[in-house]
């Protein structure tokens, strides 16, 4: 890993030239299990990018369980995602609130509206459609736990998605399940060309024509491989385009760091699809204390090993999203 280099355009702190606004780069932070640090990483990655002079909007899409604002040290927020659905033409940029941190703002998910946790289809598509309209350099989506369709679709809406795991069995199992679900969801989404989708549909539905019933993604690939290896390779490359970035959080020793490499090897063997190991973050007992004090970690402990790793991962993610 190279030395840390965060400021890539020193002459341009902040605002992009106005010539035809470029859409923001969208990063998602997901991973099957709850409590693995998604909101913490999203918030601090946002701070790290904002510190380099980039404009960042954090979007809390863990609706119903949102606490991204807490990781930023913010209290009650008046404007939230719920307001987005109060009027048909509500501009998404009006949802953005300040965070007291330069260049960093937030669209909060915190809300007392009961039904916000269960977004309807049109509400979800409204959000996804409007994400590129956010006026900023980077949008970071903080996703909820689990593999609900809404979560998967938000993940797929990003240009680059991070999967967070901690070195313990439940988290790793859930992450595999999450990745599988993302793959399955993408195969049925309109991100795949209609002709390929037709082929995929036929393979998945082959049991109607007396074929074998496919239950897992591996079954699916097995059948596709049998029918036509080229199609299988094509589908794999489509899924590889998701460019999943793995981050191992709360590592204690070098063995935990190796888990990221093993995870990558296992994914390649099992799915035949490559993912990237974007980095790891050390366990740091002071995190709990800063969270209790409702302070943003990266600003409270800028010199800590964890902060430096967070900045490095933010840098890695911002590089991966360009390609």
């Amino acid at each position: 890993m190279n030395t840390l280099k965060l400021v890539d355009s020193p002459e341009q702190p902040g605002h992009l030239p106005e010539e035809g606004r470029r859409p923001p780069k969208i990063l998602a932070v997901g991973g099957g299990k709850g409590g693995v640090g998604k909101s913490f990483i999203a918030a601090n990655m946002g701070i790290a990018l904002a510190k380099t002079g980039k404009r960042v909007v954090l979007v809390d899409l863990d609706l119903g369980g949102s606490n991204l604002h807490t990781c930023l040290g913010l209290g009650h927020i008046n404007t939230t995602m719920s307001d987005f659905f109060t009027a048909p033409r509500y501009p998404i940029n009006d949802l953005i609130v300040d965070t007291n941190i330069p260049h960093l703002s937030l669209i909060s998910g915190a809300s007392n509206t009961l039904d916000i946790a269960n977004l309807q289809h049109f509400q979800k598509t409204k959000i996804i459609r409007n994400l590129p309209k956010i006026e900023t350099d980077y949008v970071i989506l903080d996703l909820g736990a689990g593999t609900a369709y809404n979560t998967l679709d938000f993940f797929l809406a990003a240009d680059c998605g991070m999967v967070t795991v901690t070195p313990e069995p439940a988290s790793i199992e859930n992450s595999y399940r999450f990745i599988k679900s993302v793959f399955m969801r993408k195969l049925r989404s309109n991100q795949i060309s209609s002709e390929l989708r037709e082929v995929i549909h036929q393979i998945m539905m082959q049991h109607h024509a007396g074929g074998r019933r496919l239950k897992t993604l591996a079954d699916f690939f097995e059948e596709t491989e049998k029918a036509d290896p080229l199609t299988a390779a094509w589908i794999r490359s489509e899924l590889e385009n998701i460019r999943i970035q793995l981050v191992v959080n709360q590592v204690l020793d070098s063995g935990d760091i190796e888990i990221g490499h093993s995870f990558k090897v296992a994914c390649k063997t099992y799915f035949g699809i490559g993912i990237d190991y974007a980095g790891y973050l050390h366990h740091d007992p002071t995190v709990l204390q800063t969270l209790r004090n409702k302070k943003p970690f990266l600003l409270e402990n800028p010199k800590s090993r964890l902060s430096i790793s967070l900045e490095r991962i933010a840098h890695t993610m911002s590089e991966r999203v360009v390609k």
Binding site: P167, E168, P169, I172, E173, Y176, R177, K215, T216, L217, A218, D219, F221, E222, E225, P229, A232, E258, I259, H261, S262, F263, V265, A266, K268, T269, Y270, F271, G272
Partner: protein, 216 residues
Amino acid sequence: MSRKRKKSAAVISLDTAKDKPNYYEILQIEPDARQAEIIRAYRRAKETYKQNSLTAYSLFSDEEIEKSLALIDEAYQVLEYPEKRRLYDQVHLPAQEEETTPPANEDTDDKDEAPPSSPPPASIQTDAEFERFVAETREFSGAALKSIREHRHISLEDIAAQTKICKSNLNAIEEEQSALFPPKVFMVSFLRQYAALIGLEPQKVVDSYPPLKDLE
């Protein structure tokens, strides 16, 4: 995990690919991978399927893990040795690939350019002879280590980057400059890591590296 499957997709594709599994795919490396990459890939693959591995149990059955481990060993035992690897490449790599990428056969290529400053021990001509020499070596001097490393096309920079051992320390190991050695505990650890990366048995090297015997 809802239910264990019989076979993973990748294993299937290996079974059907001609009749031999592709060793590069098994170790998940490119056909032009350097020696250091092969060694690293091998260690990671073994690590993935080791006992009580957190990353393997929920995806693969015990039987699949055993099969994978056997394939990984088989692949490494060929790719580890340049001579065996070249033979394997000739038989298994598609011919057109060699045409489009001439330096695919990096061993011969490098040999032409290799600086004559540190030739492998006298009388060694082929890779096979060299590997035999390595296997039979009882004492790994700095010069021997250096020639093995160079023969395997691993640069000191590679080792420094992977182990985080400073290049001057690595140089001191090869030049046997005991005045520059760090304290013995570090020295042993450095030597181990260095040995592992150039594909030698770390303990064997530590036990036989001459300057270490004089170090208190």
